[in-house]
């Protein structure tokens, strides 16, 4: 009961912090998923649907990046964006944008690999069918996108799930600054370290509820798209 009161208070009480944290979390996760999908899905189609010299090397590289530890991604982005780094003049460190960059680095290989695996299974048949009616080269991209639209949504959702649950990289490049770069995961970690377990659990439940809500929306979109 006390937990429910804490959650209600956090969500609808006078302190705007949680609402701010949710807003930053959603902004970061949605933008990083969007950019990762815009890069990862076409890249995955190119990788999965074509045979070219160096494909195996590229596939291995993408698969290796799947195992990139978030703190390493965070470190790379931190070094790039720090004052002495090559992108230091952009002054992005400890901003939501820096967190998005780190997330894109982490999620893009994931979306690329999943897309490549998905389209790779039927790529030869699809390519042959399309070539048979004169659709070749980059014109094929449209039909891969249309044909796999429903599983692509699942991949995007999985990317979003990774993004919203990630803590290491965003902590490093965001700095967990109150009202600025604090997100659900970094807030949970901080509350746990401070021994405020009930607060941390309440935040965790809110995080799960957000995930459930987004999943439900995407599921509905998938159903409508599949029936279309």
């Amino acid at each position: 009961m006390e937990l429910i009161n804490t959650i209600t208070d956090l969500l609808f009480g006078s302190d705007p912090e949680l609402r701010q944290i949710i807003a930053v979390t959603l902004r970061m996760s949605l933008f990083s998923t969007l950019f990762s999908s815009l890069i990862g899905i076409p890249a995955g189609i190119l990788l999965g649907a074509n045979n070219f010299r160096g494909k195996r090397v590229l596939t291995r590289l993408v698969n290796t990046l799947l195992g990139l530890p978030p703190v390493v991604a965070g470190l790379i982005v931190f070094l790039l964006l720090s004052r002495s780094g090559s992108l230091g003049n952009l002054k992005l460190l400890y901003t939501v944008n820096a967190m998005v960059v780190a997330q894109v680095l982490l999620i893009t290989p994931y979306i690329t690999a999943m897309t490549a695996n998905l389209v790779g299974v039927n790529a030869a048949t699809i390519n042959e069918t399309l070539a048979g009616v004169g659709i070749r080269g980059t014109k094929r991209l449209k039909y891969f996108l249309l044909d796999f639209r429903v599983p692509f949504l699942t991949i995007v959702l999985a990317g979003f799930g990774r993004s919203i649950a990630e803590v290491g990289a965003v902590q490093m490049v965001g700095g967990n600054i109150q009202y600025k770069t604090r997100v659900m995961t970094t807030a949970i970690m901080m509350q746990t370290n401070m021994g405020r377990f009930e607060f941390a659990i309440a935040l965790g439940i809110v995080l799960l509820l957000i995930s459930l809500l987004i999943n439900s929306v995407v599921f509905r979109v998938q159903k409508v798209t599949a029936d279309d």
Binding site: N122, T125, E128, T129, V133, D147
Partner: protein
């Protein structure tokens, strides 16, 4: 006229196709027959440019919208059957109408709203043929176009192909296991074995008097 010159296709060390010279003339129907693994599909893929020979060339075939190719297992996209056909028509104004007409010809009009990936193997072959026939073409390359259809579907497809040929006087090249189908559809039969052309000729003549022992052995399994 299409000519294959010294075409050699190898997969690692295995010889898939070895054709020193082969000619296809416009206004004729060619049936390529042979057992599984004889190189029939590879020959069509070489013509389509989807398999590049390790040696040799194909001359006289411009791979544009005039050429239609139907793979043995055509892919049916997950969108509607109508869109599966209209996609071949580009920005043509009445493309839905033309697609509907093509679907009507292959007997799939009642399935226009169904999703392509829910079709059976035989329906997919008819859908593939509708895609190929929706656009006026001069050359058709068909890989076992009736391998997944029932007898009614086979009759329908054969009738459509004969009608297409009557109308266009184009070039029809198809592969088949069945000599009887070659007899019904082809002006000339090309018998392939282990990637090589063993014998060619008019089907009535070749099936009645096969000269080569390999052709005789193949035909002995069939009643024509």
């Amino acid at each position: 006229m299409i000519e294959l010159k010294n075409v050699l296709v190898k997969a690692k060390e295995r010889l898939i196709l070895d054709i020193p010279h082969l000619r296809f003339e416009k206004g004729k129907r060619y049936g390529i027959i042979g057992e599984n693994g004889s190189g029939k599909t590879t020959l069509l893929r070489v013509l389509m440019g989807t398999v590049l020979p390790s040696q040799g060339s194909v001359e006289g075939l411009k791979l544009d919208n005039n050429v239609g190719y139907l793979p043995q297992s055509p892919y049916a996209f997950s969108f509607s059957v109508l869109r599966n056909v209209s996609m071949t028509l580009g920005q043509t104004q009445n493309r839905d109408e033309l697609a509907m007409e093509a679907l009507n010809k292959v007997g799939l009009r009642s399935l226009t709203e169904a999703r392509g990936n829910t079709l059976s193997g035989g329906e997919r072959q008819r859908l593939g043929l509708a895609r190929v026939l929706a656009v006026p073409r001069e050359v058709l390359l068909l890989d076992e176009p009736t391998s997944a259809t029932d007898i009614r579907g086979m009759d329908l497809i054969e009738a459509l192909l004969l009608a297409w040929f009557q109308k266009t006087k184009g070039l029809l090249i198809f592969t088949t296991h069945a000599p009887a189908q070659a007899l019904r559809l082809a002006d000339e039969v090309i018998f392939l074995e282990a990637g090589k052309v063993v014998e060619t000729g008019a089907p009535q003549h070749l099936f009645a008097n096969p000269r080569q022992p390999k052709t005789q052995a193949f035909l002995s399994h069939w009643s024509i």
